[in-house]
């Protein structure tokens, strides 16, 4: 070996070093192209598994209901998930009433249409399992959920267009846990074109299946309005593979329902204390009951409702969930308990099997009307009875005005082995309302009542909520605070009439406010008459006496358009209620919306818009609006609905529709009553104000 050869050998590293130094500078510039190549390679790996889905054989009505924003008639995408022709697509492309769909297989010789059968549906995630007789190659590689990281590349692959290669949208992973645990989020452009397609990583592995999944509610078509907004969702592939055997088996997977209502309204701040446990629900069958505080789910601590939702929302009907609750010791069981130091709450662990739907619910009552309490400052401690509904079980059992209800002994629930029979302490009217609402009609409750310092337990059998108003309602109800007695004309200063001024409200509604007992919480009537533009002070006159006698604030909004009530009027009404709440204490259990003529249908829309806050809706000479949704009654969301009809042509015109509406409401578990009208078809202001007082009925 010569010296020269030796030299050449040791000079090589320097050549390499020089090359590397230069190459590393070049790499920075080459990175975008390397990424571009990687994106294309990733798409190539799944391209053969991405198919086009065409909606077929559906009705116009199904199309209209499945998509407000984008028509579902255009093609969409699906992804082959298993050998044997198994394809997942979205219910956007394959609406509920479609039994088959058309799959277009990509091929060199142009796309080929195939008929696919709908085998299974996942109603919780909005996905549909299809099957064709051929076996295109499935996606084989996927990313476990645990490996996902926000910020990583995501590529959305679609096949809505009849292109030779699938369509591509590129973004990053925006979040790994959305829709209460059911989806991951990306900023790639997601639209009907790639719904059903795979979201893949830079290596071509499937992250999830793109779907118009709403971030919150269980309804499936609310996600579509987010298309191309930098917000898109994908159901994790891992989650779908887990349920694939069930879908292949022809199952329809539904969201799992537990059957409880919470006392807190805000899921992010409120603790998971059970206000109502639906009779016959999985929660009731497992022995849970009102007053219990859920402290753990699947072994994970729960301090707020939201944490519980994260555990429950991804689960299907039929899935089980382990819950731990804390229950206050039953102090009413023994008379001494109250004087002793409160025993520590007991901890109960249960396993609950979630169901698809709860048995229908009818609102039960006892016949007790508690004294009013304000939203802001609920009265703590036992519930004081203001008056008792004549002829009700409570009246028969001897409950009287002035009694203090301290505790309730619930009926023994079916399968309850965890100590029902203990009394649940009552610390507010809403606690009592929750317990009553969770009692089956016909079941017997024990009420622990303090009357003049003496405690006794009275048994009361609950009955179904009455629908009609008794003829002597006005006599039954004690006058509000210092209101003048019935029949006596109110003094001029018993009410004030003022405008509820609010920012950005051009025509502030008129409000009739009782001026006496101003610290007592008020009931509220929003009265929506036939639209006629701005409201004038004279229209307040007919409400003054009723408002003063029953402690009801009456809000009289005008319509922005003199011809019709519109969307903008709803905003004004909401602001008026907010303004009223800053002036006076409001009883949240006594808010009603009343409408006449065209204002009647609008009253229903206002109530829908205000949500469960509205406890009563009365429609005079009006049916429900044609687009009305009638939700099944459930505790905390039930409404007392009344129809009133003046004996004239206008009332006769709507009566067939009112009859149909009554049937709908009855089927939904909230039968409507009849509003007795005033003389000459006048608005029965006094009856309506008394009804608002009666909305507090338990």
């Amino acid at each position: 070996m010569t010296a020269m050869t030796q030299q050449r050998i040791w000079l090589w590293p320097w050549f390499v070093l020089g090359a590397v130094a230069s190459a590393s500078m070049a790499v920075a510039e080459e990175l975008p192209f390397a990424e571009e190549a990687a994106i294309r390679a990733a798409v190539d790996r799944v391209a053969a598994s991405v198919v086009r889905i065409e909606t077929a054989g559906v009705s116009e009505a199904a199309l209209a209901s499945s998509a407000e924003v984008a028509p579902a008639s255009g093609p969409s995408t699906g992804v082959v998930v298993e050998e044997g022709g198994w394809i997942l697509a979205t219910s956007f492309a394959v609406p509920q009433d479609a039994r088959e769909a058309i799959v277009m297989l990509p091929s060199a010789a142009g796309s080929q249409r195939r008929v696919a059968r709908v085998v299974g549906r996942d109603l919780s995630r909005g996905l549909v399992l299809l099957r064709i007789d051929e076996s295109p190659p499935p996606v084989t590689e996927w990313v476990p959920r645990a490996e996902l990281a926000v910020g990583q590349w995501t590529i959305a692959v679609g096949r809505a267009w009849d292109g030779a290669v699938p369509s591509v949208a590129v973004g990053i992973l925006s979040a790994t846990n959305r829709s209460w645990g059911r989806s991951v989020q990306t900023d790639a452009s997601i639209s009907p074109a790639n719904y059903g397609g795979p979201l893949i990583d830079i290596r071509g592995r499937a992250i999830g299946i793109l779907a118009p999944l709403p971030a919150d509610t269980a309804g499936m078509n609310l996600g579509t309005e987010l298309y191309d907004s930098g917000i898109g969702f994908a159901v994790p592939f891992e989650d779908m593979l887990r349920v694939l055997p069930r879908l292949k088996n022809g199952e329809t997977l539904s969201p799992g329902v537990l059957g409880i209502g919470y006392s807190a309204r805000d899921p992010f701040t409120g603790e998971a204390r059970i206000a109502t446990c639906r009779p016959g629900s999985p929660a009731a069958k497992a022995g849970l009951r009102a007053g219990d505080l859920i402290v753990a789910a699947e072994g994970r601590p729960v301090t707020r409702i939201a944490e519980l939702r994260h555990v429950l929302a991804p689960r299907y009907a039929g899935d089980t969930v382990r819950l731990s609750v804390e229950r206050a010791a039953g102090q009413a069981k023994s008379e001494q308990a109250k004087s002793e130091q409160a025993a520590p709450p007991s901890r109960i662990d249960v396993q609950v099997t979630l169901v698809k739907a709860l048995p229908p619910w009818r609102r039960p009552i006892l016949g007790i009307v508690p004294v009013r309490s304000a939203a802001r400052e609920p009265r703590p401690g036992p519930v004081k009875v203001a008056w008792v509904w004549a002829g009700s079980p409570a009246a028969k059992a001897g409950i009287a005005a002035g009694d203090q209800i301290e505790a309730v002994v619930p009926p023994l629930a079916e399968g309850d082995t965890t100590g029902a029979g203990d009394a649940i302490p009552v610390d507010s009217a809403s606690t009592l309302a929750g317990i009553v609402a969770g009692t089956d009609v016909g079941k017997t409750l024990g009420l622990v009542v303090d009357r003049d310092g003496k405690r006794q337990t009275l048994s009361i059998e609950s009955v179904a909520m009455p629908t009609d108003l008794p003829g002597d309602l006005l006599e039954q109800i004690p006058p509000f605070a210092a209101a003048p007695a019935a029949g006596v004309a109110p003094a001029g200063d018993a009410v004030t009439v003022e405008r509820l001024q609010a920012a950005e409200v051009a025509q502030p509604p008129l409000a009739v406010l009782p001026s006496v007992g101003s610290k007592e919480p008020l009931g509220v009537i929003v009265f929506l008459d036939v639209p006629r533009g701005p409201i004038d002070d004279a229209q307040a006159a007919e409400w003054k006496a009723a408002a003063a006698r029953h402690g009801v604030a009456v809000i009289l909004p005008g319509s922005v358009d003199p011809q019709r009530w519109g969307r903008e009027d709803i905003g004004g009404i909401k602001r008026a209620l907010a303004t009223l709440a800053t002036k006076r204490a409001i009883d949240p259990a006594r808010i009603a919306v009343v409408g006449r003529g065209a204002g009647g249908a609008f009253a229903w829309l206002v109530a829908e818009s205000l949500g469960p806050a509205v406890r009563g809706v009365a429609l005079i000479d009006s049916a429900l609006p044609r687009q009305a949704t009638v939700e099944p009654a459930e505790p905390g969301r039930s409404r007392w609905v009344l129809f009133g009809a003046a004996a004239d042509d206008a009332a006769a015109d709507v009566s067939p529709r009112v009859e149909a509406d009554r049937r709908r409401l009855d089927e939904a578990g909230s039968p409507a009553g009849t509003l007795p009208m005033g003389q000459g078809g006048r608005v029965p202001a006094a009856t309506l104000a008394a009804w608002v007082e009666a909305l507090g009925l338990l």
């Binding site: 116009e60 008639s73 590129v170």
Partner: protein, 351 residues
């Protein structure tokens, strides 16, 4: 001494080897990427002009974007109402403003060529060629919303080529005369002022030109698309040589009153919009009967294009001109059957 000299020589050799290695690698790199993304954008933006013209009335914009395609000042842009002006001006990247004259239009591709009196301008090279692959990373350079004023550079956006498809294959109804393939872009380019903007790849090569603002009438979906360079090249050549077709090809004339019964086809009655397009009866000895259609067949496509509902079928049949071939795809007991009903009869209800 000799050993010493050897050491120096060895040192020199090391340096030379390092430099040779380094420049060898540079040579490879420079063939691949000549410029950084920033330099690529800067280089291409010099070839993009801001066009100001008519408009400003009825909420229409008075500005759009154009591409310099010759050093002598030819500008290709999108044919639009902005160009319906007595005075047109182009503002270059350096702020120079020129009065522009209309050279000609290509109504089929909705292109226009303007000319400005200037020389030695930086320009894109239009050429025939294969389209870029789906997934290609792109920059879009345009005067979106007219925010680039005077010598301010046009705005740059980034994205990828999402698809290469015929424009008519888009979902919904987009009324455009252009029938060739377009790039669908994964990039929010559908903005006022963007039409005529440049779409380049990350090496600075012209991929296409941003099309006019398009929105599906039914769904409201905005469409981000670009006309490929090859189509621009054809249109430009036709305009310059004066051979552009003067009128857009006549589309099918819709006849909303068209009744499928003239084909011998009776659909299941549609009560309350709840009925899919099932065939109820086939009239004996009709085109439908001769094509082999049967009761209970579910129609899924007309002429290869899918129809999801009864109304969609009605629209698709109405969109065929008299004499067009009527081809229906139907589902019959789980399989697809193709039926050829022959030419569509003249519109009108059967007596």
């Amino acid at each position: 001494m000799i050993r010493h000299a050897g050491a120096i020589r060895a040192g020199l050799m090391m340096v030379i080897c390092f430099m040779v290695g380094s420049s060898w690698m540079d040579g490879i790199a420079s063939r691949a990427a000549a410029a950084s993304p920033q330099e690529t954008i800067a280089g291409a933006a010099r070839k993009v002009v801001k066009i100001h013209g008519a408009g400003g009335v009825r909420g229409l914009e008075a500005y759009q974007t154009g591409l310099l395609v010759s050093p002598a000042g030819h500008v290709v842009t999108v044919m639009s109402t902005v160009l319906d002006a007595d005075e047109l001006s182009c503002v270059l990247d350096d702020g120079r403003r020129y009065r522009a004259t209309m050279v000609g239009v290509d109504p089929r591709r909705e292109l226009a060529v303007l000319s400005i009196e200037a020389e030695d301008l930086p320009a894109f090279t239009l050429a025939a060629g294969d389209p870029v692959p789906v997934g290609t990373r792109i920059f879009a350079l345009s005067n979106l919303f007219g925010v680039a004023v005077g010598d301010e550079r046009v705005s740059a956006q980034h994205g990828v080529v999402s698809a290469l498809v015929p424009l008519e294959a888009r979902r919904g109804s987009y009324e455009v005369p252009y029938r060739g393939d377009v790039y669908i872009l994964d990039c929010t380019t559908n903005n006022p002022g963007s039409p005529g903007g440049a779409v380049i790849d990350w090496r600075g090569r012209l991929v296409g030109m941003l099309g006019k603002e398009l929105r599906a009438s039914g769904s409201g979906i905005w469409l981000n698309y670009a006309i490929p360079t090859a189509a621009l090249n054809e249109g430009y050549a036709e305009i310059i040589s004066g051979t552009a077709s003067p009128a857009a090809p006549a589309g099918a004339t819709a006849s909303p009153g068209f009744d499928p019964a003239v084909l011998g086809l009776v659909l299941v009655p549609d009560l309350l919009d709840r009925t899919p397009p099932f065939i109820e009866t086939v009239v004996a000895d009709s085109p439908a009967a001769r094509a082999g259609l049967r009761p209970d067949d579910l129609v899924i496509a007309v002429g290869g294009r899918s129809v999801a509902s009864r109304a969609a079928l009605q629209r698709a049949l109405a969109a065929l001109a008299a004499g067009d071939a009527v081809q229906l795809s139907v589902v019959r007991s789980g399989t697809i059957v193709e039926c050829d009903l022959g030419p569509r009869p003249a519109a009108g209800r059967k007596r």
